[in-house]
């Protein structure tokens, strides 16, 4: 019975369904299943487990694509990380967690409170700075984020800081003036050090649907995203949008957020991720 072609079609349907439900998206899911269909035909695969494993390998390949560009180069001093993304995805919290990671590695860390817009955004980052043992540069609410960024960089140089992490305000990618503001923040940094920023980290919320792909494209175009942190994976969402993003833009997922606590950050492990995707 296992040789019957109909078993395969049912299996393909089930696998496609699993991808849809994980927010992988229609286009990417269908491309993956079509690729699988071809390979199954060519290699005359019959075992459902082998077919499923093949799909997992394919997704793994895609997720690892951007990883070759990876090179944790903490040579520059300060190593500058700009954290960006739409509203409420977990930027400020992720910066706190990243700060802890670097402090644990005996690095001197400085936070820049460049979200000068949202109510109590500066206060929120200050709490995190205290919690992890990082310094913070801030102006008053309503100040120019580019000015805060400039001051923070000077302070980082003067204080011999190892890692400077810049918190920016949440902003929707379809707001042109806000994206322009972000480009300005980046320019301020690269004017001070042409190798900087060394990392532009896009924060994506795992509960986000297909809009995440649009977010990645527009942020990438504006400020050249070098990595993604996928947050809130401790919920029930799978964040499957990253597969399409990796496929199209080759941006590596570098971290995952698995909770609201200071230690709830993990380096992205593509194999674990793929196992959970079909788990």
């Amino acid at each position: 019975l296992k040789r019957c072609g109909k078993i395969d079609e049912e299996l393909f349907g089930e696998l496609e369904e699993a991808l849809f439900q994980a927010d992988v998206g229609v286009r990417t899911s269908m491309e993956l299943v079509e690729w699988l269909r071809q390979r199954v035909k060519e290699e005359r695969l019959e075992d459902p487990e082998a077919i499923k494993a093949l799909l997992k390998e394919r997704i793994l390949q895609i997720l690892q694509r951007g990883e070759e560009k990876e090179s944790i180069n903490l040579q520059a001093k300060p190593h500058v990380i700009i954290v960006v993304g739409v509203n409420g995805v977990g930027k400020t919290t992720t910066i706190g967690k990243l700060g802890k990671k670097f402090v644990d590695e005996k690095k001197k860390v400085l936070f820049a409170a460049a979200d000068t817009f949202r109510a109590a955004a500066i206060d929120q980052l200050e709490v995190w700075a205290r919690r992890v043992g990082a310094d913070i540069v801030k102006h008053q609410e309503g100040a120019d984020p580019a000015a805060v960024t400039f001051d923070a960089f000077q302070a980082a140089r003067a204080r011999n800081v190892d890692v400077l992490i810049i918190d920016t305000a949440g902003r929707l990618h379809n707001k042109v003036n806000l994206m322009k503001e972000l480009e300005k923040i980046k320019r301020v940094i690269s004017r001070e050090d042409e190798g900087a920023p060394h990392e532009v980290l896009l924060i994506l919320d795992a509960t986000t649907g297909q809009n995440a792909i649009e977010q990645a494209k527009i942020f990438y175009k504006a400020v050249n995203i070098t990595g993604i942190a996928l947050t809130k994976l401790d919920g029930t969402a799978k964040g499957g949008v990253v597969i399409g993003i990796c496929d199209e833009l080759e941006i590596p997922v570098k971290f995952i957020g698995i909770g609201e606590g200071i230690d709830d950050l993990r380096p992205f492990n593509s194999r674990d991720y793929v196992d959970v995707l079909f788990g």
Binding site: Q21, A119, A120, Q124, H173, N211, G235
Partner: protein
């Protein structure tokens, strides 16, 4: 867009003569994929298409000279039927204070929406009191205080060492003694699978019996919208939904998912970061957005 896709699919098939059920299935497949692309939950999309299919195998479509148009009309009608009428009135109690509780996942926009609601209700002549029941998130209380100050609405807080249910109860007593006729409880973001935190919502509800429990959902939410809405509704009992960040370019299929699994009305949409960016929800507009 979807209307065009459906029309084109059935136009191609009509060339073969009489329309068969198989032809209709082809068009319905387009509908299902379009809904998925718009972030409608997989199971919700499936059930919706089944409802459409039942109507499509009748005379209305099969005998029509323009079956494509008929299918589009049915999809449109079913979408409108599912989304309900504009029902943005809040359930204001006859005996004040009316209590509105905001709940939802982390980062969905509850605190900002609390500010928006306070501003709106104050403009409608109410005397609202904002209540800081998020005792966990760094600077959450300060965030609500800053918003309250911006709109001239007082914020009741007992700091972060008192249980949220006790804060809610004290706020209600304070409102009664000070003459506020409306209370808006801002709660901490939480996962629907976090039993302890979901239990906290039940305790708050039991202490102060809110007249409205509004689920605040990020409009950009994907498949998970159906899961979280169902859990919050079953655990806490919601009376309505507010979809935030509708000023993004998301298709908003989450609106359909949330409505389909809870049957509760979407009362408002957030359309910006400023406190005046709150609008009543128009069901027919979301039908437009999803159909493309």
């Amino acid at each position: 867009n979807l209307s065009e896709k459906i029309q084109n699919t059935l136009k191609k098939l009509r060339g073969k003569g009489k329309l068969t059920e198989k032809d209709v299935n082809e068009a319905l497949r387009e509908v299902r994929l379009a809904l998925l692309e718009a972030d409608v939950n997989f199971k919700v999309a499936k059930e919706f298409v089944e409802a459409v299919r039942e109507r499509c195998v009748g005379q209305e479509v099969m005998k029509s000279l323009t079956p494509g148009q008929q299918v589009v009309k049915i999809v449109d009608e079913e979408l409108r039927r599912l989304m309900g009428e504009t029902k943005s009135e809040l359930n204001i109690s006859q005996t004040p204070p009316s209590i509105i509780m905001l709940v939802g996942l982390q980062g969905s926009g509850k605190t900002t929406t609390a500010g928006k609601l306070a501003r709106l209700l104050k403009a409608e002549g109410k005397y609202p009191l904002l209540v800081a029941c998020d005792i966990y998130r760094p600077a959450a209380i300060k965030q609500l205080q800053v918003l309250g100050e911006q709109i001239g609405v007082p914020v009741f807080t007992m700091g972060s060492n008192t249980k949220p249910e006790d804060i809610a109860k004290a706020a209600r007593d304070h409102a009664i003694s000070q003459g506020y006729n409306l209370i808006i409880l801002d709660t901490a973001g939480r996962l629907h699978i976090d039993d302890e935190m979901m239990g906290e919502l039940v305790r708050i509800k039991e202490r102060v019996r809110p007249h409205e429990t509004l689920l605040v959902v990020d409009a950009m939410t994907g498949q998970d919208a159906a899961n979280l809405a169902k859990e919050f509704d079953e655990n806490t009992g919601i009376t309505g939904v507010i979809l935030t960040k509708f000023d993004s370019d998301t298709r908003g299929g989450s609106a359909l998912s949330v409505r389909a699994v809870t049957g509760k009305p979407i009362k408002y949409i957030g359309v910006g970061e400023k406190l005046d960016a709150l609008e009543p929800f128009h069901p027919d507009r979301i039908a437009q957005r999803i159909l493309g």
